[in-house]
Amino acid sequence: MTLNKIKILVWREWRICRKTYLSSMFSGAVLVSFFWLIRLSMSYGNLAPVFAESELLAEFSGLLYYMSAAMVAGITAGMSADPSALLADVRANWMRYSFVLPVSPAQRSVSIYIVRFIKYAIGFAITAVNGIVSAKANGIPFTGDMMWFFAAVYAATMLYNLLLQWFYSQARTVRQISAAQGKTMGVLTGLIMIYTCYKMIIQGNNNEVDSLDVMINSLREKFITHENIIIPLTVIVLIAAPLTGWYFTALHYRTHGDVKEDSQPKKRFSFGLKKGKDGETV
């Protein structure tokens, strides 16, 4: 019965978010295709006379090899942490209703993570195919470390996901759930800015900006140099992040019922967010 419950919850979750997910993946594919068209045009099309033998083509090939993979990974990660299903549940009152169903918070949380794994699996497969195709097309060897590079990108996105999930677990209102993504991005941007300031000001790293090709190669070299640390760390994150996220989600489901909001939400400045069914009567 437990398995049946999880199965049906997965089906329900996927049914709600599949349209948004697939349309986002399609948008991502269109974006990547756009770069591929430019790349092909540089080799064989109208841009070939100018770029066919140029260094820019090599740089652009590198860009396609790494960046499109990172982009697909990013889109997948973004969609995996998509709050629309959660918000839809709250707005449709399913969140409240689910408390009267014979399912535990843990079962609901498992179903959400299964859907996320499906999204990740699809994203990872597309990333890998994109990597293999671009490696072949650009004459760059597709090695095992490339797969670990992808895995590291995914691990990073899972950490983002985990932070987001923590903010969700703290949220008690539709407004707070909507704000969770902004908070997560804010924390990450803050950390990146602190790191950049540290590198630029404290360490005084004011070197000239390298070419894209050099930057990508240097990134790859750094990855290979530190792979003894990065690979185990990636594996740990890939296992621990979903487990911790699952716990936060279960916690969120366990505690979200304790919502007490103003029946008449106060008017305040908002960034165009639609007012949800915030009001709850006592």
């Binding site: 019965m1 049946n4 419950k5 199965k7 049906i8 919850l9 089906w11 329900r12 049914r15 709600i16 839809a88 449709a92 009152n93 399913w94 409240r96 209703y97 408390f99 009267v100 169903l101 014979p102 399912v103 535990s104 019922g257 304790d258 007490k260 029946s263 069914k277 709850e280 009567t281 006592v282």
Partner: protein, 293 residues
């Protein structure tokens, strides 16, 4: 199946919010009966229902559902109860057939035939998206889902609010049919007292987080009455005997909670029977004692 006398037992339950307290409330819903839970908006009906369903944790007290502790046996209780909320809690993208599929996976005792029977009876299309349903259709769908897994206890939170009289009457008939099985019980919260007068066996009246009246509906109606008199006569009435009084240009109407005693004490005054709605209104004004409409 465990044996129990009361489908719901609420003992000294307290739930505190900022600016609102559900204050030490107690009442029982006997097995095989329907209790009307009445009170104005914000009185604490929804908080009580959410507390007993363990949607929100309580600060103090004990809640027993179907003879079991509402927290310790939560999963088992939830297999055997059904809840109907004032608003449909299903996503607009699903249709009735898909909702049946979801509930089939969630309830061990889900019965497709019963569900399809209700859909047919309510004339609900199986393939049409819920988002395109009218309010009445949405409520019927929710009731169809609630009654298709052989639930012993049906809890309704303002389920008939906002529905037209025809749909309300149809739904009330369904509830009466459901009660034909003596193991079935209903707790129905509403501020539409006319519905409860039709079908309830007992009533509980809550106001500002406190239970003011609880008992069998007929007894409650029999005990309460309205004294109709002139303003001069009203001044002779002992304030202790009345709940509150409505003062009009033509006289006064005072609610008493012991009709027999009032009839003996104020022999010359007109004492009329009352309704649940009037009881609710007069109790709401109990602190001001006198009011005018």
């Amino acid at each position: 199946m465990n044996d129990y006398t009361n489908a719901i037992e609420i003992k000294n339950v307290t739930k505190k919010y900022d600016g609102f307290t559900l204050d030490n409330i107690s009442f029982d819903v006997p097995r095989g009966s329907i209790m009307g839970f009445i009170g104005q908006n914000g009185a604490g009906k929804t908080t009580t229902i959410r507390s007993l369903l363990n949607i929100i944790p309580i600060n103090a007290g004990e809640i027993t559902l179907l003879g079991m502790d509402h927290i310790k046996h939560e999963r088992e209780i939830k297999e055997r109860l059904a809840v109907v909320f004032d608003e449909l809690p299903f996503h607009d993208i699903f249709n009735a057939k898909e909702m049946g599929k979801i509930f089939r996976g969630l309830y061990a005792k889900w019965d497709d035939k019963v569900y399809e029977g209700y859909l047919e009876r309510f004339q609900l299309p199986q393939e049409k998206k819920i988002g395109q349903f009218s309010k009445g259709m949405k409520m019927k769908l929710q009731i169809a889902c609630a009654l298709s897994h052989d639930a012993e206890l049906l809890v309704m939170d303002e389920a008939t609010t906002g529905l037209d009289p025809v749909v309300r009457s149809e739904i009330l008939d369904i509830f009466l049919e459901y009660l034909q099985d003596e193991n079935h019980s209903i707790l129905m919260s509403s501020h539409i007292t006319s519905d409860l007068e039709k079908i309830a066996d007992s009533v509980t009246f809550i106001d500002r987080g406190k239970i003011l009246v609880t008992g069998y509906k007929d007894e409650v109606l029999e005990n309460h009455g309205i004294l109709k008199c002139t303003k001069a006569d009203y001044r002779d009435i002992d304030p202790e005997d009345i709940i509150s009084a409505r003062i009009t240009d033509f006289g006064a109407e005072a609610m008493v909670s012991d009709r027999a005693a009032a009839a003996r004490k104020y022999e010359g005054l007109l004492l009329e029977p009352t309704t649940l709605e009037e009881i609710m209104v007069y109790y709401v004004h109990r602190n001001t004692k006198e009011w005018s409409s």
